[in-house]
């Protein structure tokens, strides 16, 4: 018997389900193709639980990257989570035993759902917890499907790794539509293509992101000193 509270939360996570099942399956299939075991793939969805982060982990694994590079690249890729947390500091106060899980399960999609609750509803840690848990369930279920399909080779999955590229293209367009400023994209083009030209493949991502971060800091201080001289 499914309670009304879970049905309410389940209804809210439907759009995420439609995204997480195929993407989780794509992850599961790609994981098998990269050559890791089904258990390892499921462990990643249970204990890492980060869409782009898990695909990145597979890419780094396939490229034979070192553990330091894996750690730095993951920190860089997921640095946006820091800013999600900042805006939920008050929201998660007093969540008690649910709080560690709410923080652990804070993906882009869960953050979007939690922060787009109707304003008239009182924030509820119980509802937040149900949404977070259901979202991860869709992701793990999708991964399980992918591991099963990939292992049994039920269909020819050659080329499915393009889902990763497509995901990044979509996220970039979403960022561009939201921001409507060219500055970070000019910096990314500059460092990305620069790194492509001078860095070996395994240091490409790390080098480009670190340089972009430094340029953004320089950008900030340039504008900060500009503001001071105007005063």
């Amino acid at each position: 018997m499914i309670s009304a509270a879970w049905r309410h939360a389940g209804h809210q996570t439907l759009p995420v389900m439609f995204g997480y099942l195929p993407l989780g399956a794509a992850f599961g299939i790609l994981a098998i193709e990269v050559g890791i075991s089904g258990y390892a793939a499921l462990a990643m969805s249970v204990f890492i639980y980060a869409g782009a982060g898990q695909f990145l982990a597979l890419a780094l694994l396939a490229a034979g990257a070192g553990l330091t590079e894996v750690a730095v690249a993951t920190l860089m890729l997921n640095s946006r989570h820091v800013f999600y947390g900042l805006s939920l500091l008050k929201r998660f106060q007093g969540a008690g035993l649910k709080k560690p899980y709410l923080i652990f399960a804070l993906t882009d999609e869960t953050y979007s759902l939690l922060t787009s609750q109707p304003a008239e509803n009182e924030p509820s840690h119980a509802l937040d917890f149900r949404i977070s848990l259901l979202n991860q369930s869709w992701w793990v279920l999708g991964s399980l499907m992918g591991v099963g399909l990939g292992s049994a080779a039920l269909f020819d999955s050659q080329g499915i790794e393009f889902a990763l590229t497509a995901l990044f293209i979509v996220l970039t367009l979403e960022q561009a539509c939201r921001l409507r400023q060219s500055r970070p994209f000019v910096i990314a083009l500059f460092t990305g293509i620069g790194a492509l030209l001078i860095l070996p493949d395994r240091h490409l991502l790390l080098g480009a992101i670190a340089c972009a971060c430094l340029l953004l800091l320089a950008d900030y201080f340039r504008f900060a000193s500009h503001r001071r001289t105007q005063c």
Binding site: V70, T165, A208
Partner: protein, 117 residues
């Protein structure tokens, strides 16, 4: 198990991912309104996303060495599928549709060209 590079990678990724999520809750909340934090929070994610696109397309080679169109997986199929994703997303703004159709088109092209069309 801890000697297996795959499990080492899983542990490092899990810890690094959780670290990014838990960091503000343990350390940064007093600086939440610092303009530098706001600046990076605003501009770093879009920059990272575009770098990831460049990274994912790093092997794109639409032309063969003798300047003819390449039908290899990293040639025209990759270019066409990428443009399909971008065009679909600008048109419908539906992430699942863009990713699903783009990936399906890529798989179709790659698998058909593999059978010597």
């Amino acid at each position: 198990m801890l000697n297996d590079p795959v499990w080492q990678l899983i542990i490092v990724c899990a810890l690094a991912t959780f670290a990014t999520r838990v960091l503000p809750f343990v350390a940064l909340y007093r600086q939440a309104d610092h303009p530098l934090i706001i600046h990076l929070g605003r501009y770093l994610p879009p920059a990272v996303m575009l770098i990831l696109v460049i990274y994912a397309l790093r092997d794109l080679r639409p032309l063969t060495p003798d300047q003819t169109l390449s039908f290899d997986a990293n040639g025209l199929p990759l270019l066409i599928a990428s443009l399909t994703v971008a065009a679909l997303h600008l048109w419908r703004r539906n992430a699942l549709l863009s990713i699903g159709l783009g990936t399906a088109s890529y798989m179709l092209m790659v698998q058909l060209s593999g059978t010597n069309l």
